[in-house]
């Protein structure tokens, strides 16, 4: 929560933008419905949308990546460049699987299945783009890429591996690809 409020860029765009220049804030002019929540302590329709904003999530994520890197560095067969490329690739693979491949929620939500066909990335903050969590998770693979490029001394093979891996994880995050399924892969 503290971290989220420290990195706040432009005000989040509300999904509904009228063509005339009326000043909008997140509360007025957005009307929505709450669905029935049985046995819950809050009226949050889909708790998955808020998970990445919770207190300490970003720190845990950074520590997790750090732990992965340390484990890879400790394996004596891997040189430093190989360890960095492996960190980058495994991190991007994990991020792709959990954020862009797995769809729906691991628990039943009262939203009548609206989020069932959406990946976790698409569910974040109910589809509002450019929120702080989204920015953080877009920037972190890029930083990892910079570090990996530096430590592999820009070697061509490593470069190709790292760049393709970065692209697999950056392209699905583009707002233009929200809800897009290329060739129908992973649609249902």
């Amino acid at each position: 929560m503290v971290a989220a409020s420290q990195i706040s860029g432009a005000a989040p765009k509300p999904p509904l933008q009228p063509s005339f220049g009326v000043h909008q804030n997140t509360y007025s002019d957005l009307f929505y419905r709450i669905k029935m929540n049985v046995g819950v302590a809050h009226s949050e329709v889909n708790p998955n949308t808020r998970v990445m904003n919770s207190r300490g999530m970003w720190l845990t994520y950074a520590l997790g990546v750090g732990m992965l890197h340390i484990v890879l560095l400790s394996i004596p067969f891997f040189s430093v460049p190989v360890a960095w490329t492996l960190t980058n690739v495994i991190h991007n693979l994990g991020m792709y699987v959990f954020l862009h491949a797995v769809k729906g929620t691991p628990f039943e939500t009262p939203d009548q299945g609206k989020a069932r066909l959406l990946t976790h990335w698409e569910q974040l903050d109910y589809g509002v783009q450019f929120t702080s969590s989204r920015k953080f998770f877009t920037i972190s693979p890029i930083i990892l890429y910079f570090l990996a490029s530096f430590y592999t001394k820009y070697d061509p093979t490593h470069f190709i591996l790292n760049t393709t891996s970065l692209l697999t994880v950056l392209i699905p995050k583009l707002p233009q690809l929200h809800g897009v399924r290329i060739f129908g892969i992973n649609k249902y």
Binding site: M1, Y32, M36, V40, G56, T60
Partner: protein, 535 residues
């Protein structure tokens, strides 16, 4: 605009005494001490690690079940139907079969006695890790009951209430067999409604058979399309369902946050309805007296001040606060020293403090007469059962002191003493407790998923029954155990419970509190929240 002056007292609590700008009217006649200590960062990180490990193991087990290495205990589709479109999405059941199943024995425990201060429970064992339970046949006796909503201790099997109810049972029978508008309007119901109106200090009241149904059936009768409902973030499912069924526009304000509510009110009045800009037909503010998951009490003086300033209506759900707050048990309105005429619709339930079942709505006579005709509950739902009505009448008279004894007053005082004592002792021990100092609902924070199960089981081993709640019912880093205090708890019972909680707290390392209290208006919720929108 309301602004607040904050005073830090000796104990470190922040007393919040808001003042209306421009005048020195003090809205609160007593200190309002509410605290929600922030999750320590280390604990939050470890909680995520815990959920991460559980998720990875969940995937592993699902993999093993799919490849038939492990037997699948869930219902699966038949082999012939594998090529059809699947009926269910198994991922939606992921949490249920991989996390909830592991600690399932902390819920749905069968009790076999009246849920008073002590309760008997049937012993269950599971030989396949909670997929199935078998009863050993033994009954665990005299478990200290810290989970029932038995605030004034009227859940008894002997006593004046029970005798009166038994007499009415032999006179009227158990069933009513009709709705209020047809043949189900007994003289007992009329007597009850007059009594409830007198108890609350309102003109008229109406009673319904089910507390949940009171909210969900009556809010649609009060508001409709073209009206605006401003509902608190942590409102109960019945209020949410009623609001949704009504067809009105719903906007949520941050929990107990008067700035957020005022902002919404201002926006609503200035901008009107979304596309047409017409003024709203009605604005209804939905709040609860005590929020049962947080233990917080609504800031009623400020809500009423805002309501009067912006000319909207207030619907107060006193399910947990009626009988539990106030010097004579009349609820949150009396607790703050306000007049019941300021609240337009006073709703409550008889389930918690009166040891019965059902709900009521109180208010002006025109409102209640309207509800008698137009409410779905009145037209379609069966009315209250006569022995239940008698239980309510007797217990309410007892609380009011009209039965000639001091028992009711003693109970209310005992509950207040128990609340203060229990909360103070838990805080001294170093646990993180949420909520207001005066609320009999005490959430104790557990945070980590493993500790949820461990706490429930350890407390049962020590003969104390508690209710634990975890994600997704609460936010992911705020799993808790919820204690509900009762006037039936004696000091010895509370001391025993506290001793056991202390032991379990040391065993499970639950004493996280650093007494760094967050200022009351900055609750550790997201500052930026995005709501689901309709496209």
């Amino acid at each position: 605009m309301l602004n607040c002056t904050k005073l830090v007292t000796v104990t470190g609590y922040i007393n919040n005494l808001p003042t209306l700008s421009g005048s020195t009217l003090r809205l609160y006649k007593r200190p309002f001490n509410e605290a929600f200590e922030e999750t320590p960062m280390l604990v939050a990180v470890l909680t995520y690690v815990g959920y991460g490990v559980l998720t990875l193991f969940g995937y592993l087990r699902d993999f093993m079940r799919q490849w038939k290495i492990e037997k699948c205990q869930n219902a699966t589709e038949r082999e012939e139907q594998k090529d059809f479109v699947p009926l269910y999405q198994d991922f939606e059941n992921f949490y249920n079969r991989n996390l909830y199943m592991r600690i399932r024995d902390s819920w749905n425990r069968p009790i076999c006695s009246v849920p008073g201060a002590k309760v008997d429970m049937m012993e269950r064992v599971s030989h396949d890790y909670n997929w199935t339970f078998t009863y050993t046949g033994r009954v665990i006796k005299d478990i200290i009951n810290m989970g029932s909503y038995n605030y004034l201790g009227f859940a008894q099997k002997a006593g004046t209430c029970q005798e009166a109810a038994a007499k009415v049972l032999s006179q009227y029978g158990a069933g009513v067999c009709s709705t209020r508008q047809e043949m189900g309007n007994l003289d007992k119901h009329e007597e009850l409604e007059k009594l409830v109106a007198r108890f609350l200090g309102v003109e008229s009241a109406m009673a319904y058979g089910m507390g949940f149904a009171t909210n969900s059936m009556n809010i649609p009768a009060l508001v409709g399309k073209g009206c605006l409902i401003l509902s608190d973030e942590l409102n109960h499912a019945s209020l949410v369902l009623g609001a949704r069924l009504s067809g009105a526009t719903i906007r949520i304000f941050k929990h107990n946050n008067m700035q957020s509510l005022e902002k919404l009110l201002k926006d609503a009045i200035v901008h009107g309805q979304p596309r047409t800009r017409r003024p709203w037909k009605k604005i209804l503010i939905l709040v609860e007296g005590i929020y049962s998951m947080e233990g917080s009490i609504v800031r009623l003086p400020e809500v009423i001040a805002l309501k009067k300033k912006y000319k909207s209506y207030l619907y107060l759900d006193e399910a947990h606060s009626i009988g539990a707050l106030g010097p004579s048990g009349r609820g949150v309105v009396e607790y703050f020293g306000l007049s019941p005429e300021d609240v337009d619709v006073m709703m409550g339930t008889f389930t918690k403090s009166f040891g019965a079942a059902g709900g009521y709505i109180g208010g002006k006579k025109e409102l209640i007469d309207y509800l008698r005709t137009y409410s779905h509950s009145a037209v379609y739902a069966t009315s209250l059962s006569p022995p239940v009505v008698e239980q309510i009448i007797t217990s309410m008279k007892c609380i009011m002191g009209e039965d000639g004894t001091n028992v009711g007053k003693a109970r209310v005082q005992q509950l207040a003493e128990n609340t203060r004592y229990f909360r103070r002792r838990l805080k001294e021990m170093g646990f993180i407790i949420y909520g207001n100092e005066d609320s009999p609902v005490v959430p104790l924070m557990l945070y980590m998923p493993a500790k949820i199960g461990a706490f429930g089981r350890e407390m049962l081993k020590r003969n104390i029954g508690v209710v634990v709640v975890g994600f997704p019912a609460t936010p992911i880093i705020e799993s808790r155990a919820r204690f509900c205090l009762s006037a039936a708890h004696t000091k010895e019972m509370l001391d025993t419970a506290l001793k056991e909680i202390n032991e379990v707290g040391d065993l499970l390392q639950l004493k996280y509190s650093r007494h760094r209290l967050v200022p009351l208006l900055d609750r550790p919720f997201d500052e930026t929240t995005y709501e689901e929108t309709e496209d």
